[in-house]
Symmetry: D2
Subunit: 477 residues, 4 copies
């Protein structure tokens, strides 16, 4: 690219080696930032006009040129050339072709260092906001399904062993609160990215009093970077985004693990619709939860993208080092989280519960053994440790003889402890519904507590909606 | 440990294999959580009294017992036994020795699952607050040193090549703003940990209406976990802490890289006091910046501790799984960041600047070449691209002949371009002080801008101090 | 520690700051390397004698001193003092107390840089060999159990959905081959660590012709580091170890996931002995596979220890930098893999199979649907695609009406396709035993293939045993 | 894609949701595996012919079809359609269009599970071999340049402080040995990938006696996977590749750090040619080592790609899970290492040394202070500790007064210690050339040792070349 090379040709001789071009290009990734880059140039041009560096005609030429470039990109007519390295150079070059040397004036008081910083800040803000909106939708669906499914009793697990019965809604709502924390984290991501780096030049500031407050206002930022060296060196805003997404991915990996488990023949608690599963080209019986597996599998990538950028920045002296260009890949790959959330949305919306198998697990897992032990303590005055021991023995007898608590003969129970032969007492206290209703502590699984929880969840959503980050309009118009 | 084993002996037979004890113990790490654990028990006992489960005498016995245990631990008289697994069992066991079976009542409506969740939440709050306070101190020192050193001119770097001159304070203040973002992040860490998990039982809630609002108030939490399953499954609060520390570590690794670079014989910009360096037992001339190297080296550990816990939680179904015990190591290792910050504090406080070498780099690095090119554009009406080219050639001529911009003969300059032979014009525009003063854009390195920046920094510190998280008093009294 | 400080006191003034001592000490970790360090000193002394630097008396004093130090450490009488930083200084200091200034001669032609390199090479060799031996034991157990359990038919899974029936031995033997690869990898680890770094001095070689071939022979190394700068800078041998352990950990995490799954109430395929599970202090029915969970959970740590050291070394210029001291923690933590392998050994040795539940899954999972489709193709000349379609419909009909392939009424089958009503044909081709026996391809699950596989496995083990790395005797004698 | 869907349409109803298609496609990555996939199909077809499943005409149709598909892909005429998911389906589909339903027969006794395993094994073998060849070239260049530059004396560093003088060749050769270990590691990668997974079917083997020994021979594998479940579940071969590349990347990051450091104005030890550096569009003096920075920056990605796949596989039960598809991205991104090695090759080949600055650092860094101390011990009978102290004081005096060892006045030396005033003795022992020649220990930096080292390096290269992995010809012909 003669133009660009010429720009710094004075000291150097000859051409850049192709391998440096190949390893150095970022355009194949940062073309995704075209809206951010164009918007930044658009407002920068307006600022240059405001402080007298551009006249009205020049401004108009530049603004129209930028708009046309946006159209070209959106209509896939914009040529990509890896020798032009990055999105900034592509746009500058195209603008020059369109409006001649005046295009060069747009570069006044700006460098690629603060320009890419601007682009990635705008992108982090846009993407974090989109993630928040998507999570809010999912939270809404969780509330709906929790209300719909409130009367299904589900085994809860610790150590993947049946623990105690819970309302299915309780289990589902656990994810609601994870997603609320994810939203809070993404709001933090948005807020720390809400500082304008533009106007800091290559690293040390620029040679005239530019109007950064105007830039801030027009580009919708809340604060400024107050130190030009910091502005071009920092990748904190991208760290934050990658971290926020990693935690979401870990949460989703847990949910997907459960979807996969609960869809297995052995659990058979839930069923996904055909459209979200795949078959096998060989085995006709297969109905595989591929969507959940794919999402679980992608957790590795998201965690590692964070790891990757932290490593890249580790040990770099100030200010800009070319290493920082490696921020582009993890940043752009982050977009995939939106598709993943869409997939999660669809699964939560559409799974069905298979009640019969739930009951079986609740019984086979002795889910009310604790209740029975508690009852021995409270109603039969047996010390807790002894009660625990008795029920342990009861469970062992069931297991050894193939019974559940519900069908073990009275006689056998009696042989373990006389109090267990009292049928009224016994059946009352192994009742699964009643067990659930006993968990009356706040945050527990009794129906009134779930309803209270759902109520609180609704108001939490309302509160978040009130404080949502503002939309960012990147279209030129 | 017969007691504990007996607790769940009903179903199982025989003893636990020693290898399970060895791999399963966490006490060697979670003894560090003794204050958190004791405080939680203390307030839990009070709550049990409040709702009528403990009578006054029982309460008094328990509270005094817990206080005595605190003393024993602090006086290193508390016996550790890996067969007792964790801090909870150690304390419960010791309390039982002291006050007999009443100790067992403390376990009412609580499980190790919500207990460890409480402990780690309290710990995250404590540590994040300590980190904030330490960072605030460092920020204060940076401001002081920036004021003190404002007249030192320093080469700024991009690509580790000299870029343009800046005030040293400008360079140093870049770290101020990183640390401010670190503080903001730690405040977020504190806030997301400010939810009480206690009172959720093993996973599903407990069998009576405990008073979680009382617990919340007495333990100084702002909110409750509203879902018991979420409360015992989540490790988000630890993720947040480990992430916050990772970013701090990356920032410090950059600072330490600079300290190491700038202390090298070749740079020789700064000098650390002898007490913060080490010599060599072999080479008498060595003065090694070990402290900075150690801190830079530890970045790997902090980034990886985050990675480690994210991996551990990935793909776990709800609720508690024993894998989660692996949160302990990264959590406890986090404390080391306080020592590291202390080391950073000392280095920033005590380094000296070696002015002579700064000047040499500024000259040899042609730090004002850009200013000269700009001047050709502005005062000699040469188009930017041509001016850039001319100065490139000038630099090349200097390099080839061993000159700087300051000592290249007029004649030679003239041969490159006639305008360069105008001595008044020429020396005016390669002047380093003047170059710095031209960077008048907000966030730039001109003196008035630095002073403004420092002013703004001071008010930022004041604002943060106003909104500091409250101190947590974990001592029993 | 006056002695050590004095050693490099000439240039520096005053004392080292306590924070540098605290952050810089490694003795609490590298005391674990005492055998390696003593052995290295022992042989180094012999070499110094051989080339005339020590006389016989001096040699004798030093050797006896080192032996006594070994005893003191083993009898826990050896004092640790973090001001003495590391294992080398501790031993040197103690030797000096015992035999006076002659101790200093041991330092001739050696530095802490090549000394720690030696220690860690010896340690990597020792640990990798121990891991190999432990894996060989496990492999042997797997063969035994595979022979014992060869007639159990197990559902294989893809996507955690029942795929096709296999012999349980086939499933188990899959881990055999993973462990064989792990052994191969550990042999590689051993071999790359089999290069002697001792005799390279601080970085550049030493001032006399030391006898590194003698050192190599006596310390049982196969090769030398041929470049002194490489010898003290490299941590490749530790990378290799950490990597090898990471892959083992990932393999074990898969096995443990299966143990956890298969021990759940819903699968109930296997049962662990009580001694390898734990109960709950609250829920009397629980029998938790904690050992498997703990091991799965530790995967995060092992993967991240590798990550950590790679990060630490990233971007370090040659030669020794203090950052490298951070190799100690991941190195020493590696030992835990031996306990983990012991745990795995115990579980494989002692689990029981619950045949009844296997059968149920095989039936409910329609594990022979593929065989039936194949039979339609081969014996009824129905094109594959159509056959797949027919059996898909058959499965769907079963699912919708609560049947398995084994109990769906003939009439219903007929309604799907006339060929399915032929009972002889039908039952022949859904037979689970027969399905297994059809997989006659090499590496398949037919009995003769399993027996062949086991035979091959045995000879693989024999071959490995022949080429085992030699034992390293680190005891002084 | 009606065809594919129909294949498993029997049980499922309706279409797959677009989001599952979008998240599930891998074709945009695995199109890179087209040669591996075609070659595998080609040989599989021949095997099917050999065992009588295909007749000669069918074989001929299939082989020609595959060849034509290869041409189409290479001429960019092959249509990509993400609904066809992966490379296997694309090729199968296209073959069907070309030769009709006979194409379906190619699927006999094969599944996508063993097919992708084959492709990735072939790819790992190909890439590891290419990396080895590239490293061998670089090793050759290092030897050449070490011979050329043997008389340049360079400061060696510990803690980035000047340590002792070395021959530049010694420094450079340190990388030679790292790369040799990298080659050894890559040979191991190749060897563990040298096992054939094809012929294992979906997971359990196939329903006839396929001829895997024929496949092995024709596809140039050394061994077979002896267990079908292992064959489709394992990603060890990719782990190995990613690990091998990570270590290379860490080595290169150290080299690049040094290139960046040594190209800085302050060090100015080396100079890169213009074609491997870039300028700045703003600062005319800049000559940035972008190539080295880019490579250093990419270390984060390579380390994290390993981390990513380890995480993805962690905790997956056997056998194939869709998560495993996430192996594709890190695998394909691995190719970039070839470009990076090309960049390294170019830099090593073309950098120039700036002797003058070397000398300055050697003097200013007091690089022969140790030699002088040693001389006091050996020739003036001063005990080591005292000698070290005296020279420490000498250095301090120089630093305080702006001298080097070479220009500090005799008088001043005398005031520190009388023996230092003996000019003959003094200058003899601070001589830099002589210092280098004293390091006569094997692996040291004396000239004869370097020559010996280079000799040994050459024979090492020869030995490796003899045992190089065989080339793999993937072209169909």
């Amino acid at each position: 690219m003669d133009t660009k090379e010429t720009l710094w040709k004075g000291r150097s001789e000859g051409n850049v080696h192709p391998i440096l071009i190949e390893l150095g290009e970022s355009i194949l990734l940062d073309i995704k930032l075209y809206k951010e880059d164009l918007k930044g140039s658009y407002i920068h041009a307006k600022m240059l006009y405001k402080i007298g560096i551009l006249n009205e005609e020049e401004l108009s030429l530049i603004l129209n040129g930028l708009k046309q470039i946006q159209r070209e990109i959106e209509e896939h007519k914009f040529p990509i050339n890896i020798e032009l390295e990055d999105i900034h150079t592509h746009i500058e070059q195209r603008l020059k072709e369109m409006i001649g040397p005046i295009a060069g004036k747009l570069h006044t008081g700006r460098s690629r260092n603060d320009q890419i910083a601007l682009d990635t800040h705008l992108y982090v803000k846009k993407l974090s906001r989109q993630i928040i909106l998507k999570l809010l939708e999912i939270c809404k669906i969780i509330i709906n399904r929790s209300e719909e499914l409130i009367d299904f009793i589900f085994p809860s697990y610790t150590h993947l062993q049946v623990a105690q019965p819970v309302r299915f809604s309780h289990h589902l709502m656990a994810y609601f609160w994870m997603f609320i924390r994810d939203i809070e984290r993404m709001i933090f991501v948005f807020e720390q990215a809400n500082r304008l780096p533009l106007g800091c030049g290559a690293a040390t500031g620029v040679n005239y009093e530019n109007d950064r407050l105007f830039l801030k206002k027009e580009l919708n930022f809340k604060e400024l970077y107050e130190n030009s060296m910091d502005a071009v060196s920092s990748r904190d805003h991208i760290f934050n985004l990658l971290y926020g997404i990693s935690v979401i991915a870990v949460h989703l990996s847990r949910l997907c693990e459960e979807i996969i488990l609960f869809s297995s023949v052995e659990f058979s608690f839930i069923e996904l619709p055909d459209s979200l599963t795949t078959g096998s080209s060989i085995m006709p019986q297969k109905k595989n939860p591929d969507l959940a597996e794919l999402i679980r599998g992608k957790t590795g990538k998201f965690i590692s993208n964070l790891n990757s950028l932290l490593i890249t920045v580790k040990g770099l002296p100030l200010t800009y080092n070319r290493d920082l260009q490696e921020d582009r890949k993890p940043l752009i790959e982050s977009e995939e989280i939106l598709k993943i959330l869409e997939g999660i949305h669809l699964m939560i919306l559409s799974f069905k519960i298979k009640e019969k198998k739930l009951e079986k697990s609740l019984q086979k897992g002795f889910s009310t053994a604790t209740d029975l032990a508690d009852a021995l303590v409270q109603k039969k005055q047996i010390p807790f440790r002894e009660a625990h021991h008795i029920i342990g023995k009861l469970v062992k007898t069931c297991v050894d003889n193939g019974y559940t608590l519900f069908d073990i003969p009275q006689e056998l129970r009696k042989s373990i402890h006389p109090d267990l032969s009292d049928d009224n007492f016994y059946y009352e206290n192994i009742d699964i519904q009643k067990s659930v209703e006993k968990k009356v502590s706040r945050g527990g699984t009794a129906k009134k507590r779930i309803l209270e929880q759902i109520q609180y969840a609704k108001s939490t959503l309302e509160n978040i909606k009130k404080s949502l980050p503002e939309e960012i309009d990147l279209d030129l118009n």
